[in-house]
Subunit: 488 residues, 2 copies
């Protein structure tokens, strides 16, 4: 019903204002904000939790609703099937299809392809939510609900923008890749990208991911992400777990060896102790330093949010550079040792220490692998333990770094200035964004991350939200971006 | 049916041979060994797994069968009720009663009280057993089945011995404390011991635990056990788990601090690095050294059994002393960190490292607690981390050491020589035996551990067994012990 009203009002608007001057698009968006919020409410209501096989039908339902919406705003949609997912039980269930959509196909215009996803993380009120997670609630300027920020709100802001700009005609061709399995690892997406390289993606000029947060209330454009080299150190002692009463004092314990090895990795100041590990880290340029000066970032807020009493670096630049452009090493845990509550007097036979190195340009995972392995094996041989170790790199995901002077970055920066009257924060992600690296490597196209999430949206956590400001002004940002992209 | 035959043969035997000279009791035991094995088969067949609430009825059943058997060999039995056990679900189920039994009550004779248990560890064929765990199978001189050694076989050997000696009349009064919750922590037993201090236990002269293994094929008498000080080191960093992508390089990670602290505890040779920890360890006397010389113990066998490639000490004396009479420290695991298979890029917010020190006379748990806490807090303050630590001693169980020149030890040593024609191995347990310490502390009586298990019985593991040799010769050992005890 509301949707029909929206179409009617669009037609009315188009009739009255065509051609609408650029800034009137912002007015149009402001005028329709209640309707945009209502749309988000309807989308959030669908529990499209991809991690729960019993909710697969709801993910499919969500994909269908997204398809219908794209059709109604003038697009064409292909639902690319991905086959089946095998559950750990051995049962197979269908994967949700990937939406490959197109709005406009004028060969004289540039083509921008946006990526987003319609599935969400699990959420139950009993997890500690203040409100029902699948009922969008507006409170104190925020829109609370699972998926409100990650990623339904961001995709919908983009679609609202496309619809709004389309009132006067899109100056670029828009393509959309929207999946339903992002939260569990984007099952099957790689295959579609590979298959459609010379099909759907062949005429794409720019790729934009709409699934990222800003660093602050100021809009941020993400141009890089760290990689991840994830290691297992397996130490094998006895053939079976032993009782610490009967064998403590007699055997070389695998846990002592592992604790020793893990303790050789990093010092108390967060410095990685593996020789050569910093050799290939790109130097900071003067231009790069300049970028950090303007970033809006408050250490006190981060402190309040995380509960950390002190950070490893006490300046904005120091902290952000070590989150984004320097490597870090984190010890995640140990498999095979006692991990329950209470007490158990076991000498674990085989333990696997798990740590990862977030690596950065120009570090190479295969070199990191050799440095780590050589170092740990050397340290272990010095210890003269009769136990056996095996060091394995389980993940070797490369970092991603784009060129922020490419056209889509320039267009996005202009769009930010036009909508917000500030210079965009040029930011990076500390984590790994496999999809960015994958789009670049497979398609050979430059990728930009232009999301509209806030830094405190609690995506994946309780009380996820998007601020109404980010949602509505973010819609304007996407609208402005589409217009600026036509003229760069 | 077999039981009736047994009683008939007993009566026949008593009529024909009364009074039976001592060595004829051994002959009697040899003559009845098939019947003794059959009894064990019937007891093993009852899945009296105390860890599984759904099997509680089978534990009760086993207690009832034991009671009936004691009645039939001439005892009187009181079933001491323990009340209820509250399960983690909140549901309450009855605890099995404790058997308090008496065979003979001649005030002119000494009274010996034996302790054993009728419950068993869980076992399923699918755990990796070669045969059905609850079907006693005789193969290559061994009797395989859950509980065959721990503890049904040992209790039954004792009862067989009591029955056999009783053919000519018991020279001592025998009391029995038999419980059904030993494998899960002897719930309620302490209470019974406390309550019956001036009742059932008031006339007891000696306490003997029949639930221990020998060190080798040669019989061993256990006169000591190490204590256990179990520690938690809690390190608290951020308020919530953080993503290693977003926060690696920015925060002081709780895991790095914990790994550092755990690595300060022990060196690569098993030496505990906590200052003062060895100060109160009793010196080795010449007399004690002598005891170790005669111990039958083979390092190669232990190596084959455990799969350890090398031990911390390469002599029999060095190894056994460090299992029994020197302290050891084992790191058991970490709670709160990632412990699953696979990869997770988490920076755990709060982690709890778990380790324990097996301590020995004359170490005092309260001194150990202070030494450990002071040391770790000092090490942590040197590290200058903003995270918080809390060191807690969760268990502070004292070591136990008896006097091997007390009458029941002399009687047991004589009995070993009589049955096996060797000197008994005087041994200790590396683990903690709370019941020994508890009997001594509450009742003020000396305790001895005289079990008949083999060192390779795989109690708690797959393919538990007792050798037929240990079971039958062990029956003779208990018979001889009852006789020797009357004359020391």
């Amino acid at each position: 019903m509301l949707f029909l009203l929206s179409i009617l009002s669009l037609l009315t608007c188009q009739a009255a204002l065509s051609p609408v001057p650029p800034d009137q698009i912002f007015q149009y968006i402001d005028d329709h904000q209640d309707e945009f919020v209502q749309r988000l409410k309807e989308w959030v209501a669908i529990e499209s939790d991809s991690s729960d096989p019993t909710k697969r039908g709801l993910v499919d339902n969500m994909m269908q609703i997204t398809k219908d919406f794209i059709l109604k705003i003038g697009g064409t949609v292909e639902m690319a099937e991905l086959g089946e997912q095998e559950l750990s039980s051995g049962k197979k269930i269908p994967l949700p299809p990937v939406i490959l959509a197109e709005i406009g196909n004028d060969t004289k215009k540039p083509t921008v392809c946006f990526y987003g996803h319609m599935d969400v993380q699990p959420a139950k009120k009993s997890d500690g939510w203040a409100t029902e997670p699948y009922t969008l609630i507006e409170k104190d300027g925020n829109l609370y609900g699972r998926g409100a920020s990650d990623d339904k709100g961001q995709v919908l802001a983009l679609l609202n923008a496309v619809e709004s700009v389309n009132v006067i005609g899109l100056p670029v061709n828009v393509k959309l890749v929207i999946e339903g399995m992002e939260e569990v690892g984007s099952n099957g997406l790689d295959k579609i990208v590979e298959e459609q390289k010379d099909g759907f993606f062949s005429n794409v000029d720019y790729i934009v991911v709409t699934d990222t947060p800003w660093l602050s209330k100021k809009p941020g454009i993400t141009y890089g992400a760290r990689g991840n080299c994830y290691f297992f150190i397996e130490v094998e002692g006895a053939r079976r777990d032993l009782h610490s009463g009967g064998f403590g004092g007699a055997v070389y314990e695998a846990m002592s060896d592992l604790i020793f090895l893990l303790d050789t990795l990093i010092d108390s100041k967060g410095k990685i102790l593996i020789p050569g590990i910093y050799d290939d880290v790109r130097s900071v340029t003067e231009e790069e330093k300049e970028l950090y000066k303007d970033l809006e970032f408050n250490l006190d807020e981060l402190q309040a949010d995380t509960g950390a009493k002190r950070f490893l670096y006490d300046t904005k630049e120091g902290l952000l550079m070590h989150r984004w452009r320097y490597p870090s090493l984190s010890i995640h845990g140990i498999e095979g040792a006692f991990s329950g509550s209470g007490t158990k007097t076991v000498i674990p036979a085989k333990v696997i220490g798990k740590f990862s190195i977030r690596q950065v340009p120009n570090m190479d995972p295969s070199i990191v692998e050799k440095q780590v392995t050589d170092y740990l094996e050397h340290k272990f041989s010095e210890r003269n333990s009769p136990n056996k170790i095996k060091v394995t790199m389980i993940i070797g995901a490369k970092p991603w770094l784009s060129d922020m002077n490419e056209p889509q970055y320039l267009a996005a920066r202009k769009a930010v200035t036009r909508v917000f009257n500030v210079n965009a924060d040029m930011i990076r992600a500390g984590g790994t964004i496999p999809i960015a690296k994958n789009f670049e490597e497979v398609l050979g196209k430059r990728v930009m991350l232009l999301g509209i999430g806030g830094p405190d949206d609690s995506t994946h956590g309780q009380n996820e939200k998007i601020s109404k400001y980010n949602y509505i002004e973010g819609t304007k940002l996407y609208a402005a971006f589409l217009q600026e992209l036509a003229s760069v």
